[in-house]
Subunit: 269 residues, 2 copies
Amino acid sequence: MDNRPIGVFDSGLGGLTALRELRKLLPEEQLVYFGDTGRVPYGGRSPEIILRYARQDVKFLSGFDLKAIMIACGTVCTTSMDILAAESQLPLFGVVEPAAQAAARATKNGKIGLIGTAATIRSGAFQRLLGRVAPAAEVFAAACPLFVPLVECGRVEPGDVVIETVTAEYLAPIRAAGVDTLVLGCTHYPLLERVIGNFIGPDVALVSTGAVGARRVAEELRAGNLLAAPGGAGACRYYVSDSTDDFARLAGLFMGAPVTGAVERVSLE
Amino acid sequence: MDNRPIGVFDSGLGGLTALRELRKLLPEEQLVYFGDTGRVPYGGRSPEIILRYARQDVKFLSGFDLKAIMIACGTVCTTSMDILAAESQLPLFGVVEPAAQAAARATKNGKIGLIGTAATIRSGAFQRLLGRVAPAAEVFAAACPLFVPLVECGRVEPGDVVIETVTAEYLAPIRAAGVDTLVLGCTHYPLLERVIGNFIGPDVALVSTGAVGARRVAEELRAGNLLAAPGGAGACRYYVSDSTDDFARLAGLFMGAPVTGAVERVSLE
């Protein structure tokens, strides 16, 4: 048993899709979420800047007495995970390995699609890992630089010509390749599940990095006997690097319900 | 005469539209440009964060022996200009006042449109200044939160359904109001001049904040006898807070020609 909280961070709000899954799987856990909303988005930035910001994010969360940190940001995981893990005293859980393994299990025809931010796709980290866990699979990758800003502007509804046009552009080569599995390599993308599903078709399995990453955290903590004592009431505290008002307004979109925990603004610099 | 350089900064690359005009008007001047590409965009952030970042931008440029700083960022000017000016030893030139005055001169029917980032429109600074310099005018304002990400993804061409749909959404109420003048309150927006012009119609005068701001800088320096000695060869040095590769790739779009000056990466934190 370990009653210490689990830390979760993302460049902004996308990681809340992972937090939501963690809350569902582990309702008795204390969670501490940090969203770097003052510097979001990370996905168009260089690997050096992403690493610098991610180190500050880990350092901030490490100030709490945590049992583990989940990196709920595809961009950080694909560009910085190894370095962060080597530097950290705490166990770090990412989203790349669980998502790659889920995709390897899901595919029947050996054709896997992968979408993510520009930094994620450019890093090649997902592609390399898919090559290891599914060596016979072909991977069709596409960067989707407008997805994060579009999601953050609420352009997530089927029928919106803007999101549908951009989705068709980004995904047409992946659909044409005949994939049967598509990895949503950014924790913002679950909000586009309906739009993406409509375009790519009902027979393609969508792998959500945040959800499979959260399941991995739950499994590992359970296996290590590190879950909180049963019967306790779980809760979540939120920290952001920009306005808490804007956070509260948008966070409900990602959590699927109004956010009720305490929200505090902090400065990392 | 004053041979010291002029500093220019923006959250990212939009300010290059102002720099381009300065180069044209004052080819003998030394210019130092800073783009905070590691934290761009500013336009969706809170006033407190924008002020903090802008102070760091001014502080960085103040490390050079400058004669003046031009704030080529509509978001910084509308949210932080007064505080920055009160704190700065150097003369600061912004884009709000020159653009408001240009709009007041341009309008014949007293109906002025104004577009900018979410932070700019929410601040009300442009609207208040237009109220002072054109008290009889009606102002129709719209925030355009997707314009900066769309411009940075190169979605600037007429015929692109994404930029045209978003433009029509943002500008329809302004067009319906019958404005004859439209202030482009963000230095990214000149790249959308054709798309915006096509939608709003050829009889509407477009006021580009960067260009009118640069003209004001030139006039004020001339009036104060602060121009560089004639006959010198002007030049521009560039500093950014993220990768210089990405900067070089995109900067030509904004400058209308390949960027040839030295580019260096710096850390503000």
